[in-house]
Amino acid sequence: MFRKLYLLYGALVLSTAAFGQYRGWSLDTINQLKNVPKSVRDNPGSYRSVYSGYHHYTGGK
């Protein structure tokens, strides 16, 4: 019984992986926005990224 369930589950996992690959899924987190004005191309400063101005790692051991 469980083996049949596992076979079904495995088929589902493989199908999902194949579908995701076909549809171009990614593991990276990317913020999506809509209706960015066309003027940005001529005036890049009119757009501000949600990530700008963060404190950056100034690393090293």
């Binding site: 589950y9 996992v13 995701g20 890049p44 790692y57």
Partner: protein, 441 residues
């Protein structure tokens, strides 16, 4: 059960033979229609010869406790595996292993047409037992009965502590027998050796609730404690079969990965190098790239950044913008690389390369808006941006692999721990713990 077998559970009941104990005069009921060899007086605990019309006294024993009470009272009738039986005898037996006394109970069941069978109970674990019809073949650490192999579990010396009711053999309190158990869950094969006589019996594991239902006993059965020697594993699945299925899925996943990797276009759509100079960017630092076209179905877009940083960083605010629809994918990436030398030797962390994959970008005309933020110590830097469409994401296969692996590992672990618990109580424990040398001194 044959259709000709009359039921015992319903009226009218067969007439039991009523006698009196020759010692105390208490009423003795014989239920087994001459099949009993001995009968025990419940009042004075005399073991009487059931074959003797005068019920000769064979043994009298004293009980040190009044706690010994059968869970199924004598005279109780029930339907066990489709056949009516009456409980006619009860005995408690025990064995000592490493100074610990283990006790279990045995019930004698009788059906005038089917004969005798037994129930045993230990810590809430039950077995339906009958005498073997054929002699099993003992083969060292295993035994073969009707073509099934039973593994040796344990051998012990069992003694009878307490008896009540009728027995189809010459029962005595204090009598010892050498018992060897062989298991093939849910069945158990036991040999019992007394003097020159060896009796083989075959048992099948039963759950307490099945016994309670069969004999319509009030309340709930005692909860089973621990794992019994022939208790069926909760993992009914063939674990090896699961691993075979997993291996097949892993191969398919590998084939899928190879197929999609070959099929992926990996089409370069943009490759530009940008120069950043602090002196020249006093005001706005952001810039836009040329417009490029993404064709075909929605697919991944990989953005690779390279910057020759050394103990410094550069952070790029990216926005991939669809020129026609205004849809944008906004993200930030840091490229930093640090290295040095200390008492532990040389070290490094970070990388001069960075890569990110944007998911499911539809076809259209796009450009990047890039806004760099640079380490204050850096006066000028050149960085490259390479954009490729339709690249495979191997992480998806990694997740799929784990998703396939986890259920098999859980099932295997459950099966392993159950079997380990079972065999830890046997003469063949999974791991032998050596006693400390101090014990021998």
């Amino acid at each position: 059960m044959s259709a000709s077998t009359p039921p015992l559970s319903g009226p009218p009941k067969p007439q039991a033979k009523a006698l009196n104990c020759p010692k105390c005069g208490a009423a003795i009921v014989l239920r087994s229609f001459g099949q009993a060899e001995t009968v025990v007086c419940a009042s004075c605990h005399c073991i009487l010869d059931a074959k003797d019309p005068n019920l000769a006294i064979l043994q009298q024993f004293e009980i040190k406790t009044s706690d010994i009470k059968p869970l199924i009272p004598l005279g109780t009738r029930g339907k066990l595996r489709g056949t009516d039986y009456e409980v006619i005898g009860f005995q408690r037996r025990s064995t000592q292993v490493d100074g610990i006394t283990y006790r279990w109970h045995e019930y004698v069941l009788f059906n005038p047409y089917k004969g005798i069978r037994y129930l045993s109970e230990y810590n809430g674990h039950w077995n339906d037992i009958s005498i073997c019809k054929m002699l099993p073949m003992s083969e060292g650490a295993s035994a073969n009965y009707l073509g099934e192999i039973y593994k040796h579990f344990q051998t012990c010396d069992a003694s009878t502590d307490f008896v009540l009711g009728e027995f189809p053999w010459q029962v005595r309190v204090g009598k010892h027998a050498g018992v060897a158990d062989f298991v093939n869950p849910p069945r158990i094969l036991s040999s019992e050796k007394m003097a020159n006589e060896v009796t083989w019996s075959i048992g099948e594991y039963m759950y307490g609730r099945e016994i309670w239902e069969a004999f319509k006993l009030p309340g709930a059965p005692p909860e089973a404690m621990g794992v019994y020697e022939n208790q069926p594993s909760p993992v009914t699945t063939n674990v090896t079969g699961m691993w075979v299925a997993f291996a097949a899925f892993a191969m398919l996943l590998l084939a899928l990965m190879a197929g999609f990797d070959m099929r992926a276009k990996k089409e370069p759509v943009l490759h530009e190098t940008f120069h950043w100079e602090r002196a020249k960017v006093a005001g706005e630092t952001s810039l836009v790239t040329d417009v490029f076209e993404l064709k075909g179905r929605p697919s991944t877009v990989e953005v690779k950044t390279w910057a020759p940083v050394s103990n410094e960083w550069i952070y790029l605010n990216y926005a991939l913008i669809n020129q026609d629809t205004g849809q944008a994918w906004d993200f930030g990436r840091e490229v930093s690389y640090y290295s040095g030398y200390d008492s532990d030797g040389s070290w490094s962390e970070g990388s001069r390369n960075d890569s990110v994959v944007i998911p499911s970008v539809p076809s259209g005309h796009y450009y990047f808006r890039i806004e760099p933020e640079v380490d204050p110590a850096v006066p000028a830097i050149a960085y490259s941006v390479a954009v490729t469409r339709d690249v495979p994401v191997f992480g998806i296969y990694g997740i799929a692999f784990l998703a396939l692996l986890v259920p098999v590992v859980i099932i295997s672990f459950r099966a392993y721990t159950f079997e380990r618990s079972r065999w830890s109580e046997s003469d063949h424990p999974p791991m032998q713990f050596s006693s400390s040398s101090g014990d021998d001194e």
